[in-house]
């Protein structure tokens, strides 16, 4: 059977049509219209009045916004600086040729990422309890830690970082493990290497080889951390916690847009977030391009 050239020319568009329709209507259009929406004050989804740039200027004078931004940045730094080195360490250990049961460890360490954040939050809302919570009990048994340590009142941010560490440490390990396959194989015997040699090898051989994936994982972590919402929202029963210690940007967006009903203000928060994340993505590209050129 022969196909006419006209039909062949149409084929790409037939294959693309479902995607393009959904993409234009539900991604491009809302992305563009959110810019317009951010210049209006709305009262629910149907009613709105133009307010110009005042959503943005109000945002910059809004202590809750700054609190949310600060918390989000602290959480992001905590995730990147504590979690990623641990992920890398686990990957390096797991990559040793003499490790037994490698698949078992990989699957186990990876498994928490399958659990949705909401369900992680449900689990940790009990695990972080005073006295009866598993976290305090474990720490108490091993270090004599205070059984009444108030994770969910005073130490919300460490609690969020610990729960996220549990959930994502193995996920990021998988990326590092893949990256370590680019590292030239070790020639010397492990037994002959002292600490200084191990460190120097890590700095001069391992680190440069995993850099491209490394910057990508940092970017993914920043993007993911910036969107933190469910964990604090469920852990603190839909509030920002005492003194808004657990209020994040997306939580604030949700509160203003869907509890107060001002979608315009929420859209402005969304744009500030998007600009921060786009700047991070641009920085990552720049860094990895430079590394490639060097």
């Amino acid at each position: 059977m022969k196909h006419s050239p006209a039909r062949a020319a149409l084929a790409p568009w037939i294959l693309l049509a479902p995607f393009l329709t959904v993409f234009v209507v539900f991604t491009l259009y809302p992305a563009a219209s959110s810019l317009w929406l951010s210049t209006r004050q709305t009262f629910g989804p149907g009613v709105s009045v133009p307010v110009g740039g005042s959503n943005y200027s109000n945002l910059f004078h809004d202590p809750s916004f700054w609190k949310a931004l600060r918390n989000t940045v602290v959480f992001t730094l905590g995730s990147v600086l504590i979690q990623l080195p641990l992920s890398l360490l686990l990957a390096i250990i797991l990559n040793r040729p003499d490790i037994r049961a490698r698949t078992f460890f990989r699957v186990v360490l990876f498994s928490p990422v399958l659990v949705g954040v909401v369900f992680v939050a449900m689990l940790f809302s009990v695990l972080f309890g005073k006295r009866t919570g598993l976290v305090n009990q474990l720490l108490h048994a091993s270090t004599g830690w205070d059984l009444d340590f108030p994770w969910l009142d005073t130490y919300v941010m460490p609690a969020l970082i610990v729960a996220t560490l549990w959930q994502y440490v193995g996920f990021n390990m998988i990326y590092f493990l893949a990256a370590l396959q680019n590292v030239p194989k070790e020639l010397e015997e492990a037994s002959r290497m002292d600490t200084a040699a191990v460190w120097s090898r890590f700095r001069h051989v391992t680190l440069p080889a995993i850099m491209p994936v490394g910057t990508f994982v940092v970017l993914l972590s920043i993007i993911g951390s910036f969107q933190l919402f469910e964990l604090p929202y469920i852990l603190m029963n839909g509030t920002g916690g005492p003194e808004d210690r657990g209020l994040t940007l997306v939580m604030y967006l949700y509160q203003t847009g869907f509890q107060t009903g001002d979608l315009g203000f929420a859209a402005a928060i969304g744009w500030v977030m998007a600009l921060v994340l786009i700047a991070c993505a641009a920085a990552q590209r720049l860094i990895s391009r430079k590394a490639e050129a060097a």
Binding site: L90, D98, F104, V118, M122
Partner: protein, 289 residues
């Protein structure tokens, strides 16, 4: 140093590494184990014991106080079964549709020559940086205007064409579908659409499996979107329902933990089944991209 000592020296780091990995694995597994035991305790036992209640039974454990009451309450009183069905429906329908839509678009962008291909490909790449929270407020307004609020369609249709999926499938086609094969098929008179189903789909099968699972997981675990779009409780998927139950049965920890366990198990089973493909698909974006 005698040979025995030097062998012991070289064993030491290996043993230390196994000890560290085992400790990490234990810390990861402990909350799961705790969760499983928490669902079969109820009443005061929930708080007085960490794993199993102590008593006069074998090994000093009160076996007779273990109960399935939490699960009964979960399904009979709290109506969790309906949410389980909603989640299954939403996750599988969205996963199937999104995979098909993304595979078709990824193939067209990877291997077909047409005017505007560069533009569409650039648009897809650029859209990768749009963070979902940017679309929350305006997307809600759009669904309101389209009269899609409080419907499954309002959740499924917008999730059918994730740019991330098009990007992954384009990569998979570029590296997995040889041009010569498609040219041979064309010269035999095979149309592009038939070639997609007969040649391309079987060749990108690992990515298909990975992407089905990624999408299924994403929908199953998503909270923010269904929380915003759905209003009637009988439509709530598990993630929204469990948060709702936390507000209603806030003192019934056994019930809440049973609900959490029920929400986790199907996904874990599916993953163990597709584990290898899933991890391969996940990392391919980072390594080749």
């Amino acid at each position: 140093m005698n040979p025995r000592q030097s062998r012991a020296m070289s064993m030491a780091p290996m043993l230390l590494c196994h000890a560290l990995l085992s400790a990490a694995a234990l810390l990861v597994l402990l909350p799961f184990a705790w969760l499983a035991f928490a669902t079969i305790r109820s009443g005061p036992d929930f708080f007085t014991s960490t794993f199993l209640p102590s008593g006069d039974g074998l090994f000093g454990i009160a076996w007779d106080r273990l109960t399935l009451e939490n699960y009964r309450n979960l399904f009979v009183t709290a109506g969790f079964g309906r949410s389980l069905l909603s989640s299954l429906f939403l996750a599988s329908v969205t996963a199937l549709l999104a995979t098909l839509v993304c595979a078709m678009a990824g193939y067209a962008l990877a291997r077909l020559e047409f005017k505007g291909r560069g533009f569409v490909a650039a648009l897809v790449l650029a859209a990768l940086v749009i963070p979902p929270p940017l679309l929350v407020a305006s997307g809600f307004r759009l669904l309101f205007d389209l009269n899609l609020l409080d419907s499954f369609a309002g959740l499924i249709i917008p999730a059918m064409g994730p740019v991330f999926g098009v990007f992954l499938f384009r990569q998979a086609v570029v590296s997995g579908v040889p041009r010569e094969l498609l040219e041979a098929a064309r010269s035999d008179g095979c149309g592009e659409i038939r070639a997609f189903f007969r040649i391309v789909l079987p060749l990108v099968q690992p990515m298909t499996a990975a992407f089905l699972l990624i999408t299924f997981l994403g929908v199953w675990n998503n909270y923010l979107t269904p929380q915003i779009v759905l209003q009637s409780e009988e439509k709530f998927p598990l993630a929204v329902m469990i948060a709702q139950l936390k507000n209603v049965y806030y003192q019934d920890y056994g019930l809440l933990m049973a609900g959490t366990l029920v929400s986790i198990v199907p996904v874990a089973g599916l993953f163990l089944f597709l584990q290898r493909d899933f991890v391969a698909g996940l990392t391919s974006g980072a390594i080749k991209g």
